[in-house]
Every structure is written in C-alpha cells, then in structure tokens.
C-alpha cells in the first residue's frame, strides 16, 4: 500500500507540473478575486459582469498602451482561507502584475495580507472593514469607503431632520456586521443618541422575533440594521408582523439596496431607508451610462457593488497605462498618484485619520418609495423627496 502512496504522490506531482506550463503572450494580467460560488456569489456575479463589461471597453479602446489587458478571475468561495490560496496562486503561479476584487471583509483582509507580504499592489473595491486600510500597508489601496463611513449621509440626515434620541442596532455576526455596528455606535455617541438594543445574530436565522420583541419593548426612534438581503427581508417582515414602529428603519447598505429586498420583503420594504455608496443618477460622468449598459447587456439590475467593480477596472487600466513598468513598485507608485474620475466618483488615494491609501467619497441615503429605490439625501441630489415622518399603519395596510 506504500507503493500506492508513492504512485499517487508521483501522479499528483505530474498533474500539478503539467498544469503549470507557462504560456507567454503580450497581455497584462491582473488577478481578480471574487466570491463566484457560495453564499455571496450573488454579489460576486454582479461584480464579475461589471469587470467584464469594463474590460471589453478598455480593450476595444486599444488596451494598455497597445497591450491587451486580461483579468484572471479566482473564486474565493466566500472563505478567507480559500481567498488566501487564490491570491497565492495568482501571484506565484500566474504572475499577475496586480490584484483586484476582494468582496467580503474577511476575504479581503486575508488577501491584503498576502498582497502586502508579497509586495504586489492590491486594489480593494468592496471589502469594507476599516482595519484593511489602517495597517499602514503600502501595497493595499481601497476604492470604496470603509464601513464606518457608510452612514455618513445618514448622520447628517439624522441631525438635520430626524433628531432621534434612542436607537437599536441589529447586525449579523460577520466581520462586516460587527465592525459596522461598532462604528455606528461611535456615531450614536457623537450625536448623543442612546443605544438601547445592540445585538448581533447568526446570519440565516428563521425567526428574528426574539430580538425584535426586545426592540419593540424599548421602542427606539431609530432601528439600524446591518444585514444581507435575506436576513434584511425577514427582519423587516417580522418587524411588520410585530408592528414595531420606530421613527425610521435604516439599513446599513449591503442587503437593503438589492432588488431582491423588496421582492422578498414585499410591502414591509416600503419606506425603509438605507445607506448606500452609489446611485445611478449621481452626477458622475458615465454613471447612468454604466447602469443602462449593464441592464441592457445582462438583462438584470445592478447597484453599487457593480459600480465599484466597473470603476475599479478603469482605475486598474489607468494605473497600468501610467506605470513606468509592470514592476510592482512602479504600479504601486502609479496607484498612489491616481487622480481620476470614474462612474463611482473621483478616485484619489489619500491618508486621513488612521487610514492610508484610502479613497474618500461621500455616501448617500436611499429610500424604497413605491417599490423603487430613490436617492433622498443629500437633498440637492435627491431623485425624490424623502418620506418622513412615516405612518407605518398606512404603509403596511
């Protein structure tokens, strides 16, 4: 049987070597790591399609100084250890010039560690845990705002319009959820809002009534939820069943802006606010174009995650055009000198607070009004006036 073992070892060695045949070509290869299978595949797909859309446009327009740009996608299956292996593979085997993607916070964090260690530039476009750009890692750049800034627009809305006194925070027990909730607690402290309920939950629960009962008992002015789409739908539906009536329900982006949210929550999704990072009517050049192109090409809706990916693809192209060589340090230098406009907004990597290489962008507040997601805050950009105060009985009838 030891012979079997030896034979198998040889075989696996052969297999792996055979797979490793290099194929040279005049292309610039960039590794993109996204969740393409697993629970987060939904978002991974929107992002991949957006990357593809941008890639085609970039190459049709002549590529990178005459060379073709190529994205090598790796599936992280929504697990940090797989993301890490994927990054290892892209860097050491495929010899990509830089990395992009990074969806879940944990996965992004793991990839960023590898990138920094291997000195390969990594442009994060979705992973939002604040820590990712607070490590002083010079090879890690982030296009999207960190999770602590998601409710920035909400903050001004609260101080100017709602002036709540109490808040309940419900969050899923993931990296994204728990860091988001901590940051929101800070905001509450700053605004003098008392946090009366602060509970994490295991995502994928059937029955949220036990915590919702608690929320109802405390009757807060504001219910802030950080959840993915299905938990978000169940939370809202069960809140409706229990007739919890705060002044407003606010989602912390992620699940609350997806088209699946109203599909699943039904009328319970009406008049729910959510923080968001992007909206197609924003006055960024190409934002609406991107939205229309995506919808007509793939026959489905897109939202801020897609815009992040699309913008990231253009930033990558711009950086590679400007980089003196395809060496990691030249690319890193070009990344740090980035100053361009994208569909997702202006991109410039700066250092502020504890963060480095972080793009600073405003965030927005959207609201589901008559089954459509409308931009309601800041007021001067609104597509529809916000609905507040809300008569929940009338909404839920």
């Amino acid at each position: 049987m030891r012979r079997a073992l030896a034979a198998l070892l040889c075989l696996s060695l052969l297999c792996t070597l055979g797979g490793g045949l290099a194929w040279a070509q005049e292309t610039l290869r960039v590794g993109i790591i996204l969740p393409l299978t697993g629970a987060k595949a939904k978002f991974g797909e929107i992002e991949k399609l957006s990357f593809d859309l941008a890639l085609k446009e970039i190459n049709d327009a002549g590529g990178i100084n005459g060379k073709k740009l190529e994205f090598l996608y790796e599936d992280d299956t929504g697990r940090p250890e797989v993301a890490r292996s994927a990054a290892e593979k892209l860097i050491t085997k495929d010899k990509v010039v830089m990395l992009g993607g990074g969806y879940g916070s944990s996965e992004t964090f793991a990839i960023a560690g590898v990138a920094q260690q291997s000195r390969i530039p990594f442009l994060v476009n979705t992973g939002s845990d604040d820590k990712i750009t607070e490590q002083g890692w010079e090879y890690v750049f982030r296009l999207n705002p960190p999770v602590s800034e998601y409710p920035k627009a909400l903050e001004s809305f609260l101080t100017e319009v709602v002036k709540p006194k109490t808040a309940a925070i419900l969050y899923e027990n993931t990296n994204f959820g728990s860091s988001g909730s901590q940051e929101f607690k800070e905001i509450c402290k700053r605004l003098g809002i008392e946090v009366v309920v602060d509970e994490g939950y295991e995502h994928g629960g059937v029955d949220f009534k036990p915590i919702l009962v608690k929320v109802k008992d405390k009757n807060p002015d504001l219910v802030y939820m950080i959840s993915y789409v299905m938990d978000a739908s169940l939370l809202m539906r069960q809140s409706m069943e229990l007739r919890i009536k705060p002044k407003l329900f606010v989602g912390g982006a992620a699940g609350f802006t997806l088209p699946e949210f109203p599909q699943n929550a039904g009328k319970a999704s009406e008049k729910v606010f959510s923080a968001t990072l992007w909206y197609q009517t924003l006055k960024y050049p190409g934002a609406m174009d991107y939205y229309n192109k995506f919808v007509s090409t793939f026959n489905k809706d897109t939202e801020y995650h897609g815009a992040e990916a699309y913008a990231a693809a253009y930033v990558i192209a711009d950086v590679l055009k400007r980089a003196k060589s395809t060496g990691a340090d030249d690319i890193r230098k070009a990344l740090s000198e980035t100053d361009m406009m994208t569909v997702f907004g202006p991109v410039k990597f700066i250092a502020y607070d504890k963060k480095t290489n972080q793009n600073r962008l405003p965030t927005y507040l959207v609201q589901w009004i008559d089954g459509r997601l409308e931009l309601v805050w800041p007021k001067e950009l609104a597509t529809k006036p916000y609905v507040y105060p809300i008569d929940w009985e009338a909404v839920w009838k």
Binding site: M1, R2, R3, A4, L5, A6, L8, L9, S12, L13, C15, T16, L17, G19, G20, L36, T37, L72, E74, D75, T77, R79, P80, E81, V82, R84, S85, E88, K89, I91, T92, K93, D94, S106, F109, A110, G113, Q116, Q117, S118, D129, K131, N173, T174, N175, G177, S178, S179, G200, E202
Partner: protein, 328 residues
C-alpha cells in the same frame, strides 16, 4: 512494519527534495496545506480509526491551537510562534475536559456530543469579542516570505505526528485502543480502564490537531471562528480524509489528505485554468461522490482495502498473499 522500509525512505527523500525541485510557491503552498491535513486526518484517525471514538469535533482542537497562537500575538504581545509550543498542550487540556464529558457516551451519541461541543466553541469564539476579536478575526503578518521554512516545519510536524502514532500503536496503549474499538465491554472486563485509554488517545490526538492549528495561524496568518471552528470545513473534512484513505491504517489519512487537497484545488481552479470555468463549481461535488464511492466499495478506505484494489487491478490474483494486513 515488516514491509520494506525503502518506501518510507523514498517518501521522506521525495518530500525533502520536493520544494527544491518544484520551485513554484503555489505548489509548495498546496503541499503545505496537504501536510496540514495529514496531521489533522492522522490525529482524527488515532481517536476514531484506532480507538473507535468517532469524533465530529476535531475543529475544536484545531481552533484552540490556532487561537492560542493568535492570542499569543494579540493579547500577550509575544510571537505567534509561541503558540507552536502552547497550542498542543492547551488543546490536549481542553481535550481532557471534553473527554471527561463526552466519553461517558458511546457510538453515535459520542459523535453527536462532539458536534454539539464543537458548535458551542464556535459560537463562543464568535460572541466573546473582547478575547477573540469575534468575527473580525485575527490577522498577523507571516514571519517568512519564503515558503520553505513553512514547508519543512509542516513536514516535520506531519512526520512527527505519523511517527508518534506509529509508536503509540505499537506500544501497550495501541493494543488497548484497538481492544476498546473492537469491544469496549470485553476490554473493560479484561481490566482495561476504557475511560483512561480513550482519554489518552484523545490527548495525543488533540495535541497534534492543536499543533496543526497553531501552525495554521502562523502560516495562513488569518483566522476567524468560521474558519477554524468550522463543522463542515474542518471537523467533517477530517473525517472524510480519514475515510477515503482508510481508517485504522497509518498511511490512510495522509493519502486521503493529499487526495482531498489536490482534488479540490484541481477542480476549484478548473484544472489549473486549462478546463472550462464551470468545472470549478464541481469541486465539492466530486469529492462527495468519491466519499460515497469509497464507503460503498472500499469500506476500509483506499489504503485499508489496497489488497482488494490490487486484486481487482491485476489478474494475478494469486500474488495477493496479503503481505500487509490491516493497521500496518
């Protein structure tokens, strides 16, 4: 161990030379993962395959080892490498306590209890944010940029684990373990203190699993509760690694580990990028089918039923004079 030792010499030599010949970090990385699974699978096998206590909770020890190393760095401010010293003993200690609770149960009830304990550990690690950092996990920087130190360390742990199990199984303990597996009541009536020997088996098993966990923290440099305390990705995988290779055999779990890691990676990367994209969606499915196939047709795993396979493979059935029996 009457079989010729040159096989082992060849394996050791090949393993030592491997990263020097194949200079791709990626393949070395895959081998490090496989070696890690060799340790987890072999440790599980000591408790389940040799002692008959089918644990569905080996992620507990893996997680304890990993968090020991991680907390050394984040809470004690010392290097996570200290975890390599502490991870094993602490996992063993926790193992003793868990054994004290669960060993009063037998067969499937023991298995169920370990699932429950495993889930409790996972949830505790998620909720106890002030200690573990909760789902934000622990991220460290690797100490070495080269893979070689990690590779040789993993290799040393793997061979150390296999050798330790080999020695244990040839000692008096080993006979007691197998006696307990075959018939606990009979063993007890012969004067074997079943509880004590089951605990000893668990202590050794959890020690190596904890060591593997501590190594994982140092090598992968990122852990969170879902990664290291995972029922599906650690506990059950440990079992499947053992099953495929062969429970109750020394070389079964190592073989199973290599098959599992390479099968999954081959499919996940669509045959290293050579196959169509959709192949990557099959990576778990193929492994599941292999598990069903093995259980159905090779109840003792590939190594355990090797003679049977060889007899099927070659027509000279007479030659199958079953040189090496079970549990070599």
């Amino acid at each position: 161990m009457k079989a010729p030792r040159w096989h082992i010499v060849v394996i050791v030599a090949a393993a030592l030379a491997f990263p020097l010949i194949v200079r791709s970090d990626y393949y070395v990385h895959m081998f490090i993962l496989a070696l890690l699974w060799v340790v987890i699978g072999s440790s599980w096998n000591l408790l389940a395959g040799y002692t008959g206590q089918v644990s569905f909770g080996h992620a507990i020890f893996f997680g304890i080892g990993a968090y020991t190393a991680g907390l050394c760095a984040t809470k004690l401010g010392i290097s996570a490498w200290w975890g390599m010293l502490l991870g094993g003993p602490i996992a063993s200690l926790i193992g003793l306590v868990i054994g004290w609770i669960c060993f009063r149960l037998r067969g499937p009830y023991f298995a169920l209890a370990t699932i429950a304990v495993g889930e409790i550990f996972r949830l505790a690690a998620v909720v106890w944010r002030s200690l573990t950092g909760g789902m934000q996990g622990i991220l460290l920087m690797q100490s070495f940029r080269s893979k070689l130190p990690y590779y040789y360390l993993a290799l040393a742990i793997a061979f150390g684990c296999i050798y330790a199990i080999h020695r244990v199984m040839r000692s008096k303990w080993g006979y007691y373990f197998i006696a307990i597996r075959e018939d606990q009541d009979a063993a007890e009536s012969m004067g074997v203190n079943a509880f004590r020997y089951k605990s000893l088996s668990l202590v050794v098993s959890s020690f190596f699993t904890g060591l593997a966990g501590a190594f994982y923290m140092n090598y992968m440099a990122f852990i969170d509760p879902e990664v290291v305390f995972s029922l599906h990705h650690i506990s059950i995988m440990a079992i499947l690694v053992g099953i495929i290779g062969g429970v109750g055999t020394l070389w079964g779990p190592p073989l199973g580990a290599f098959i599992m890691v390479f099968l999954q990676e081959t499919f996940r990367s669509s045959f290293f990028g050579l196959g169509p994209r959709w192949v990557s969606e099959l990576h778990v499915l193929v492994f599941g089918l292999l598990v069903i196939f093995v259980i159905l047709y090779m109840a003792n795993g590939i190594v355990g039923d090797w003679d049977k396979i060889r007899r099927l493979g070659s027509s000279k059935a007479g030659a199958a004079s079953a040189s090496a029996g079970k549990g070599s």
